[in-house]
């Protein structure tokens, strides 16, 4: 590939699951950086974790390796891109798995959580509502209400009402260190609080066979069997 005077110094196109970035290696590196910022800023969050292939237009010459590496580090730093390589060639043997794992490990840094974490005591008559998961670092008193679109996690005593998975997420769970609610709801299911005293250890409620079940959280942890940590 040859560059004319009037061809743009940086071009981007999507190839497979990667972004193919063609650069003009004859330009000074600072100018290349400036030129890269423009399109990558427009990409915004699309650039995060994207796999990038930088094509210096001269095949596999050793001379362009340094340039690609510098630009790769620059892109990772500025735009949190994923793996940066030069055009795929014979060394495709670079195990795909390893790259995927690397990207996976990186992805936690950029994961935006839409859960609500609050500290303190939720008192009678107070109502806490979260769009997704709700975590209360404190107690939920009798007469108080905790409502969430996802899970509810109470790092304390749950004595009020808890409604998880509202309106219709039946996968949601309710966890509390001391589990003695007046009432719980998961999705459309409702269960009254139990009269027997709490076991003084963390318990959680979930839906099984169209009914709300309460179990010991330490013994019956439902996520222990997952092969890989996943976003909930």
């Amino acid at each position: 590939m040859n560059f004319n005077e009037d061809s743009p110094p940086v071009k981007i196109k999507g190839v497979g699951d990667s972004l193919w970035v063609t650069i003009n290696p004859s330009l000074p590196i600072d100018q290349l950086k400036q030129e890269l910022i423009k399109p990558f800023e427009r990409l915004k969050h699309l650039a995060i974790n994207a796999r990038i292939i930088i094509d210096a237009g001269n095949g596999e010459q050793e001379s362009s390796d340094d340039l690609i590496e510098t630009l790769g580090t620059f892109l990772k730093k500025e735009f949190q891109v994923g793996h940066v390589t030069k055009p795929v060639s014979q060394n495709r043997a670079v195990t795909q798995n390893r790259i995927r794992q690397q990207d996976m490990g990186n992805s936690w840094h950029h994961y935006q959580n839409d859960g609500l974490v609050i500290a303190g005591r939720v008192r009678s008559g107070q109502k806490i509502q979260a769009k997704k998961h709700l975590i209360v670092l404190g107690d939920v008193n009798p007469g108080a209400e905790a409502i969430a679109g996802g899970d509810i996690i109470i790092m304390g005593s749950l004595q009020g009402k808890a409604s998880a998975g509202q309106p219709d997420n039946e996968e949601a769970i309710i966890v509390a260190l001391e589990f003695k609610p007046t009432q719980i709801q998961i999705g459309g299911f409702v269960a009254g609080g139990m009269t027997e005293s709490a076991k003084n250890r963390p318990e959680f409620a979930y839906i099984e066979n169209n009914a709300i079940v309460v179990d010991d959280y330490i013994k019956e942890n439902p996520f222990r069997r997952l092969a890989w940590p996943e976003v909930r």
């Binding site: 005591r121 008192r123 009678s124 008559g125 107070q126 107690d139 008193n141 009798p142 007469g143 004595q159």
Partner: protein, 266 residues
């Protein structure tokens, strides 16, 4: 120096707000403070009866606010205790006769006149409660060891915090024998749920009924346990916050104490 306005509240009715207001007022006056107790329960006034001043009412709080009299004319001096004054509620109006801004004005005046003003808040969280807390500097929450009273006190505490008032707790009507048998919530259970500073514990006491019916201050009764507890609460409320809290317990004989000590080891 300006005086303090302290509101006595509970949410639930019948837990002893009025008796406690009258008694703390009397105890503070006995300590030499100039004290006013104000009945905020307009339409259902009680505080005058409990203090035995029913027959002396000429003007009331609504008259003050509507400009028909001065504070000095409406404030009734106690029969026995100097420096203790009652501002009675009106029996013929309702809670809407007073607006929060009226209370701010009235409390401003009372701060100048008295060292300590105690507001006897009505039950509930409506207008009467709003009027009572709007100008208060401190709050005392009264709670009995019952789940319903705890629930209401919890709601009240939330509302007080929303007004930037940090309340203190009095647990009233504790029956030590029932607590020991596990038939009544202990004050620890109550404090655990409400998690605010404890101001005092008051034991169930028959003298309270006598005192209320005869209109004699509880704190003047020498051998009343509740009277003693209220004395200590008044001290803690004004100037002696570190006075230790006495835990009501069953009076055990020496042999019973000894036997329970031995049986505990088994």
């Amino acid at each position: 120096m300006d005086g303090k306005i302290i509101v006595v509240t509970s949410g639930k009715g019948g837990v002893g707000k009025t008796t406690i207001t009258a008694s703390i007022g009397a105890a503070l006056a006995l300590q030499g403070k100039r004290v006013a107790v104000v009945d905020m329960d307009i339409g259902l006034r009680n505080l005058d009866v409990v203090m035995g001043l029913e027959n002396r009412i000429v003007f009331n709080i609504v008259d003050i606010i509507q400009g028909r009299c001065k504070i000095k004319q409406a404030a009734i001096k106690d029969r026995r205790i100097d420096n203790l004054y009652l501002i009675p509620a009106s029996q013929s109006d309702d809670k809407n006769a007073i607006k929060p801004e009226n209370m701010v004005w009235l409390c401003g005046k009372l701060r100048k006149e008295f060292d300590i003003t105690l507001l006897d808040c009505p039950a509930g969280i409506e207008q009467g409660f709003r009027n009572s807390i709007v100008a208060a500097d401190e709050a005392v929450v009264v709670c009995t060891p019952e789940v319903s009273a705890v629930r209401d006190a919890d709601r009240i505490i939330g509302l007080l915090y929303a007004q930037s008032i940090t309340p203190k707790l009095i647990v009233n009507r504790i029956v030590p024998r029932m607590v020991e048998n596990g038939d009544m919530l202990s004050h620890e259970d109550v404090v655990e749920v409400l998690s605010i500073d404890l101001l005092g514990l008051i034991e169930m006491d028959e003298y309270v009924v006598v005192s209320t019916n005869t209109g004699t201050p509880l704190v003047l009764q020498e051998d009343s346990k509740a009277g003693k507890a209220l004395h200590r609460i008044a001290l803690r409320l004004d100037g002696h916050p570190d006075l230790p809290i006495e835990n009501p317990m069953i009076q055990k004989t020496f042999w019973k104490k000894l036997s329970s000590k031995f049986s505990r080891k088994n």
